[in-house]
């Protein structure tokens, strides 16, 4: 089965697309979702990699950006990123990982698998918002 043809990212004001947020802890999911909504984006929040994979195809709006907050329950952030890259129709799909592990080797592995930005937790929530906006502008 071949991948679908790539189309430009829908990330521009008023575009009908959303941010897929993957975070296992509810309190974290709520905090991040509220932050992302402040940037004006729709948020599809899921608890783990399996739900994220499903959301990539079944979400009510196309996923144009993914924010993964580690650790995922199955610990497999890299396969998720690779899978998202392989099936997303958007050439401009942006992936941000909030890493719990601050070691450089871990960050390198995440970049190698296709992440656009890796930030070690704890993070500055405003900075995350700004980075989302900046990535979106670049993708558009």
């Amino acid at each position: 089965m071949s991948n679908p043809p790539r189309v430009p990212s829908p990330f521009r004001p008023g575009a009908d697309a959303g941010v897929l947020l993957v975070a296992s802890a509810e309190v974290e999911r709520d905090a991040l979702a509220a932050r992302i909504r402040k940037t004006g984006e729709r948020v599809i929040a899921v608890v783990d990699g399996a739900h994220a994979v499903r959301a990539l195809t079944d979400a009510p709006v196309p996923v144009a950006e993914i924010v993964v907050s580690e650790p995922l329950p199955d610990g497999r952030t890299e396969p998720l990123i690779r899978y998202a890259r392989s099936i997303s129709p958007f050439a401009g799909l942006r992936i941000i990982v909030l890493a719990e592990d601050s070691r450089a080797a871990h960050h390198t592995a995440l970049y190698d698998s296709g992440a656009d930005l890796v930030a070690a937790k704890p993070i500055d929530l405003d900075l995350l918002s700004r980075q989302i906006v900046a990535l979106r502008r670049r993708a558009a």
């Binding site: 309190v27 974290e28 709520d30 905090a31 907050s69 909030l98 704890p122 993070i123 500055d124 405003d126």
Partner: protein, 465 residues
């Protein structure tokens, strides 16, 4: 036998009803007897006592009317209303919580603080200082939040049994130039921090914001308390701030210059550590202001029982503060009108419940001795009575006028109910004040943590200071 007596006394000492009874016996029964005896010897003393009590009511009413008059003024912060957010200094927020009681609302509060305030997160340091007598599931959530958010710290304070302990522990971590003190149920408005900073930038040291009740729909009692809060924060605090440029920190939604707060710290021995630290700030030359446009919502007491224990603690705390600071106020270098006004807020606040009760004592003595007084034919008594009732009506009207529009719309008729029942409600609060005095004099300082709402878990954990 002795131990049985001691046990009985001990049991009685644990009930607030005992202190109410003692207070009424001391401040109603004993004076009534004294008036009867005095009236038998010198009947003119009964008339003089009536005049004195009527004068006390009139004085209180006059000060109330003065506050109302000044509360109607629209004093705004003279600083530029457009504070650029990047010009804000680092602001620390200390949220203090007793977690078993507040575990179900703390995460919501933290989410509010991290997502709703206009201040940039790199200008915010949020510290949750809490105590708990056992490990709680919510602590895992707090650790998760701390792991995510660089500006948030969850601080469990070992050995703490009060808000004051928690605040003092958090002060060790505070780095901001301004510190906001909040209770666990408070949700400040998005612009609260900018507005408060404008006052500090002008040279003020403490800014007290407006606390308003957000669960007014929960019960009849909550509606009543919501209206009362509009009166306290929209009218009384504002009136005194406009009148004499003085204010009191009410324990939450208060913005402090950190250097001052670190110097004073809060006194863990006081039941109302907020009023105590306000007094110490005032006496050290600090400037305090109340700004009713700095709004924060809270969960008001929705049940009489919670209200009773909360007000008992407040009343006893104010009494402690009066005993500790009244002399210092007189001896201070504060301007004369400010000293006089603080005497009204401290000493007169304690005396008035006793004086107001003398109406009943005198009427009882009149009945017992057959002494009569031509109330309707006496211009002084008629005038003071009219002034007292007029102040109540004016208070109700002013509260309605100055209430937050949303509450005015939701609670419209309750403003009328509050105004009509003000005398009975004041009598109830006076009863609490007198019982609190009796408690303090008896050395009983155990209090019950206020249950926020009918929907919070029914914790009634007693703590001591």
């Amino acid at each position: 036998m002795t131990s049985t007596w001691r046990d009985t006394l001990g049991r009685l000492a644990r009930h607030d009803g005992t202190y109410v009874l003692v207070a009424y016996l001391l401040f109603l029964g004993v004076p009534a007897l004294a008036y009867v005896l005095l009236g038998a010897v010198a009947p003119w003393t009964m008339t003089a006592a009536h005049y004195a009590v009527a004068g006390a009511y009139a004085f209180t009413a006059a000060v109330m009317l003065l506050e109302l008059r000044f509360a109607l003024r629209r004093k705004r912060c003279p600083a530029d209303p457009q504070v650029a957010l990047e010009e804000l200094p680092l602001v620390s927020v200390i949220v203090s919580a007793y977690l078993p009681n507040e575990q179900h609302l703390i995460v919501e509060t933290l989410q509010h603080l991290t997502t709703k305030l206009n201040a940039p997160t790199h200008k915010l340091q949020i510290i949750l200082a809490y105590n708990t007598d056992r490990d709680l599931p919510v602590e895992r959530e707090l650790r998760t939040l701390q792991g995510l958010n660089a500006s948030f710290t969850a601080l469990r304070v070992p050995g703490s049994s009060s808000k004051a302990h928690n605040i003092n522990a958090a002060l060790e971590l505070v780095e901001g130039e301004m510190t906001l003190l909040l209770d666990a149920d408070h949700h400040p408005a998005p612009d609260a921090i900018e507005r408060a900073w404008r006052w500090l930038a002008l040279g003020y040291d403490v800014v007290q914001g407006r606390c308003t009740v957000r669960n007014a729909d929960e019960s009849t009692f909550a509606r009543y308390v919501a209206v009362e809060f509009e009166q306290i924060y929209g009218v009384s605090h504002t009136g005194r701030s406009h009148l004499l440029d003085t204010a009191v920190f009410g324990g939450t939604n208060g913005y402090w210059r950190t250097s001052l707060l670190k110097r004073l710290r809060v006194d863990e021995q006081m039941l109302t550590e907020d009023i105590d630290v306000s007094m110490r700030a005032l006496l050290s030359g600090a400037r305090l202001v109340h700004d009713r446009t700095i709004v924060s919502t809270e969960i008001g007491t929705a049940m009489f029982r919670s209200w009773w224990s909360q007000r008992m603690r407040w009343a006893q705390g104010w009494f402690q503060v009066t005993l500790r600071h009244q002399g210092a106020v007189w001896a201070s270098g504060l301007p004369g009108p400010v000293r006089a006004y603080w005497t009204y807020l401290l000493l007169w606040r304690e005396l008035f419940p006793l004086l107001s009760l003398q109406v009943l004592a005198l009427l009882a003595a009149d009945l017992a001795t057959g002494h009569t007084i031509a109330w309707l034919g006496d211009p002084f008594l008629l005038g003071t009575t009219a002034l007292t009732f007029a102040s109540g009506a004016a208070g109700g009207l002013t509260t309605w006028r100055l209430a937050l529009p949303e509450l005015r719309r939701r609670l419209g008729p309750w403003f009328l109910v509050h105004a009509l029942t003000a005398s009975a409600y004041t009598t109830l609060k006076n009863t609490v004040c007198m019982a609190a005095m009796a408690r303090e004099l008896a050395g009983r300082r155990v209090w019950v943590v206020t249950r926020r709402s009918r929907f919070t878990i029914p914790e009634t954990v007693a703590a001591t200071t």
